[in-house]
């Protein structure tokens, strides 16, 4: 849908600032950029881990439960106190509750988009989807910026699947996420094709690399194009030249106790992989947990996992265990202050339970959790109203969230990058900074 811009903002909008052309298509900005980069919170996070709860996790069954409300709003679960005085989480988030004093919880997220594809895109790129341009995700922006100064490992990894909004859009193939899948349904997470094919070795790979480069150079000369000294296989060659690469993706290197701490399901193992990658300075990892689109029977899907379960193995216990283990692990290894951990989905769910014991889409207010990266600790930002229907104060739009994340990750949200039709596109056009988050 056409995004609404107040007329006044348009009139004040500056014309395009002309600066020098940085590598990877960045257009330099002016004094405004200096003001941004000198900001205290700028660039405090070297890495970011997004725990993407796909489908729209219910805010009332997670970070923003309500107590003194009718039963159909309250839902089937109770609440537990957390390490933040006066703040409760839903009863399933046991580990997270004990780590709440490290977290920032936003309870007043708000968005106009209630359809999965559109909402995904908005949360992950900070832009409303548009029919004429595909915006890059935050992960791709980071990959694009860091690529030059990076080593063999990919800058942007996603496991175990890629959802709408996570792609590179007009930034192109080099900024797409590297996907680590499960070998088969529910199987182990493995990065494929990292080992030499029988008969191949490092020197042969190197020879292939050089041969291909010559071929592409000749081809480009014939075409008369601006020759770029790389082939489309550059990332792969770079990665395979390093030994630490294979180790990074091998979860069996971790002691069994550690694997069990995260939980043996795909999501838990994905979080463990994220920690390993961040340890090796990979800037952006997304771990996807699907199934949060709970239009029916939230007791089964969110808590139990299967009918008649004695100990819940549904979405919430799985999430709680993995996220808790991840945060603790990062803290123990001294990585938490420079690693942003974000747990969010594309919207919340209806405050009133529906006739099937579930909740439907509700983007008007929802919650999310953030941790690390220099963010304030033990902060609850904003609130929803009494029944969890609308923001009561401090509404935060996804554009604002992405604005803040860009700042933390050292990307100036006001700067522009060149889209594939030759037009400078602002990284974050309409978000405003959230003062409480610094």
């Amino acid at each position: 849908m056409p995004s609404f811009i107040p007329a006044k903002t348009l009139m004040r909008r500056d014309l395009i600032r002309i600066g020098c052309l940085f590598p990877f298509g960045w257009i330099g900005a002016d004094r405004a950029m200096a003001a941004t980069t000198n900001h205290v919170g700028f660039g405090t996070a070297k890495s970011c881990i997004v725990l993407w709860l796909d489908g729209g996790p219910s805010h009332l069954e997670m970070w923003d439960p309500k107590v003194d409300v009718p039963a159909e709003v309250r839902g089937p679960f109770g609440t537990i106190p957390t390490r933040i005085p006066g703040i409760h989480f839903s009863e399933g988030l046991v580990r997270c509750a004990s780590l709440a004093d490290r977290m920032t919880i936003i309870r007043s997220m708000t968005s106009p988009l209630g359809e999965h594809g559109l909402a995904n895109h908005y949360l992950l790129t900070g832009h409303h989807p548009s029919p004429s341009i595909v915006y890059p995700s935050l992960g791709s922006l980071v990959a694009n910026q860091r690529r030059g100064n990076f080593g063999a490992l990919p800058c942007y990894v996603a496991a175990p699947e890629i959802r709408t909004g996570m792609g590179a859009g007009f930034l192109g193939a080099e900024s797409e996420p590297f996907l680590v899948r499960t070998a088969k349904q529910g199987g182990a997470l493995t990065a494929r094709d990292l080992d030499f094919y029988p008969g191949m070795d490092a020197s042969r790979l190197q020879r292939r690399r050089e041969m291909l480069l010559r071929i592409e150079e000749n081809h480009q000369q014939k075409q008369g194009t601006h020759s770029i000294k790389s082939s489309r296989f550059d990332s792969a060659f770079g990665m395979l030249a390093s030994d630490s690469l294979r180790q990074a993706f091998d979860l069996n290197e971790e002691p069994e106790g550690t694997q069990a701490k995260y939980g043996m399901r795909t999501f838990g193992q994905g979080c463990l992989l994220a920690r390993r990658l961040v340890e090796r300075e990979v800037p952006f990892v997304t771990v996807v947990q699907t199934g949060w689109d709970t239009h029916e029977n939230i007791v089964l899907q969110l808590r139990d996992g299967y009918a008649g379960a004695k100990e819940g193995v549904g979405l919430i216990p799985t999430f709680d265990q993995a996220a808790g283990a991840l945060i603790e692990d990062l803290e123990e290894r001294g990585l938490l202050d420079q690693t942003l951990v974000i747990a969010m989905g594309e919207f919340g769910r209806t405050p009133k339970l529906n006739p099937r014991g579930g909740r439907d889409h509700w983007p008007r207010v929802f919650s999310m959790m953030m941790c690390g990266g220099g963010l304030p600790r033990g902060l609850v930002l904003g609130a929803s109203d009494r029944v969890g229907e609308s923001p009561a104060r401090d509404p935060v739009e996804p554009a604002d969230l992405v604005h803040t994340l860009c700042m933390r990750l050292g990307i100036d949200p006001h700067s522009r990058i060149m889209s594939n039709d030759g037009r400078p596109v602002p990284i974050n056009a309409h978000g405003k900074s959230i003062d409480a988050l610094g």
């Binding site: 193939a173 996420p177 041969m211 592409e216």
Partner: protein, 721 residues
Amino acid sequence: MGIELSSARKLSRAMLFAVVSLACMSVAIANDLHDDRAIDFDSDVVPILTKHGCNAGACHGAAAGRGQFPLSLFGSNPDADYEAIVHAFQGRRIHLQEPESSLLLAKPSGRIAHEGGEIFDPSSSTALLLHRWIEQGASRGAKRTLTSFRIEWQRIDSDRHRIQLRALASMDEADEAEVTDRVRFSVDPSDSLPWDPDQAIIDLDRPGRFIVLARYMRRVVPVILERPWNEPLDSAKKQTGAGWIDAEIDRQLDAMGLGRAPEVEESAWMRRTCLDLTGRLPTLQQLEQYDAIDPSMRRQAWVDQLLSSPEYVEYGTNRMARLLGLRGLPNEPQVVESFAQWIRRSVDEDRPFPEMVRELLTSSGDSHSIGAANFSRLAGDPRSHAEVVARTFMGVRLQCANCHDHPFDRWTQDDYHGLAAVFAGIDRGRVVRLGSRGEVTNLKTMQAARPRIPGVRFLESADLHDLGVDAFAKWIVDPGNPVLARVMVNRVWGEMMGRGLVHPIDDFRETNPASHPELLDRLVAFYRSEGYRLRPLLRQIALSRVYSRSPVEMELGVSEVFYHCGIARPLEPEVLFDAVHDVLEVPSIDPSHGKEFRAVQWIDANVSNESLDILGRCSRPERCNVSAGSFGLERQLHWLQGELVQRPLLSGSTFFDRFIESGADDRTIIENAYRRVYSRLPSPTEIELWLPQVPASANQRREWYQDWVWSLLSSSEFMNR
């Protein structure tokens, strides 16, 4: 609840008001606000709300409204809007005695806190209009119909980059009046061009083609603005057109001051047509035969040969199957068999497309023997069926209109649910039956939806004497209805050229006009004159100059919409898969039954193959990943180390292995490899580059060739067409 202004502020406000109203007067002279005419709700107030975005989906136009105040999306329902503004909320939104205290005026002008912010200045023409309307009694006025709405534009500076837009509308066939200040102009994305919405002036700050949308009442009109490049190019690059396709393309290029890229080499053209029409690389024999044909008729003869080959049918079946959503059902292999057979026969006989569509929509019976009935069967349910039909045969993305009237286009919920109702009475078991009882609920009215042809009419009982499906089919295949032909022509053009005249190819809407409307019309006329058959259309495009243009990057920022150069298209995953095996002369073996197979023959979308999936195989049209052709890290690794290429390449039984065994010299092998991979001979430079590198020792020589052929197969010249 209002804010009391201090007298000092009142004075400065008064002065400001005076200054601004003088300015407004100069604007007002251009429109009819300066006389005492009655402000009309439908044609003045509602459009003003649309213009400022009040009734957009992000604000009060959302399904649940905002702040307890709902408006219809983009003013599509003025009746409901009038109720909401004047009568709802105990009439507090309007204050007839003190208009400036009306919430309708006070909130958006900043007098009272408004979650949406200050939308317009209290002294702006918008505020004036709303004030005047309330003063006059906030009445509805007689309902009139918008009978015409158009946009004029003119350049207002000698550099020709600033454009002034004017909107003219007439109600009930009366004289046109200017309505510029009540029109919502927008560009997508919203910040892509500098412009002043209050003055309706737009700055074309860079060359190109831009679409401005003008929205007034319930009409949306696209305005196409172009700024030429005037690129000084080598005049040798300008070619004389060959035929009407090129004439239309060249006309646009000339108007934009753009040169053309040179044509590709003959061998590249030959390779491209072979891949586009048959999904294969030319064989070595075909290469030799091609050279032997008389150059003056070479291209026509080649295209005719391709179009009459069995490979054309095989590839065409694959693509048609993907378009029609063919996929297997558990334990029912006959579904794929019968549907595939029907498709294959239709492609082979080059059946007129409307005939095929009518059969697909109206066939019933045992899906194991009546191939066309599987289209309905596989559609799943009435709403999916409606969405598939709309996308495939009308070129329209109807799904947004499920929950509310479509935000970009004219489709309403009645259209969406009405089309679903057409497909409601269908039994989708093994025996497909039409005409059963069935209905869908229209989510707007919560009643049974009335069957409807979207955008056209509801189906009356006279139509339903036949089945709703028959009536719809009759409408869509009617020779006077251009929709189906346009969609198919655009699709074929887009797949051959790399970009549809309407782009994306399944997104025909009022607000997305074709880049070359006259060309589209002529292609449709041609298609119709050839009986809606595919082969003549493919032939016409393949033999055009524009199709054979080289994908040379001429200048950054020149959009491919003008076809001034070719658009490099990556090979589709199935074609790439087969091409690798063809080049190496090592067939691929299907592990499940140990027999040879070609990926192009795998038309069941539900059967997966790891390599094909990694390459981004597009199993369902609506699930197609836009970046299927781009080579992310996962694909690179698989190409470099995975089974797909390594298994045949290192097998020891490739073509170059045989050459080595037979004692052939390096030059022969190199030339042969180039012809297989690129359909051409290596240049002297290329030979000089490679020959010295080949090792002498037998083992190293073999390995060298393995690595070298890998790099040929990984090059852009191979992977694109």
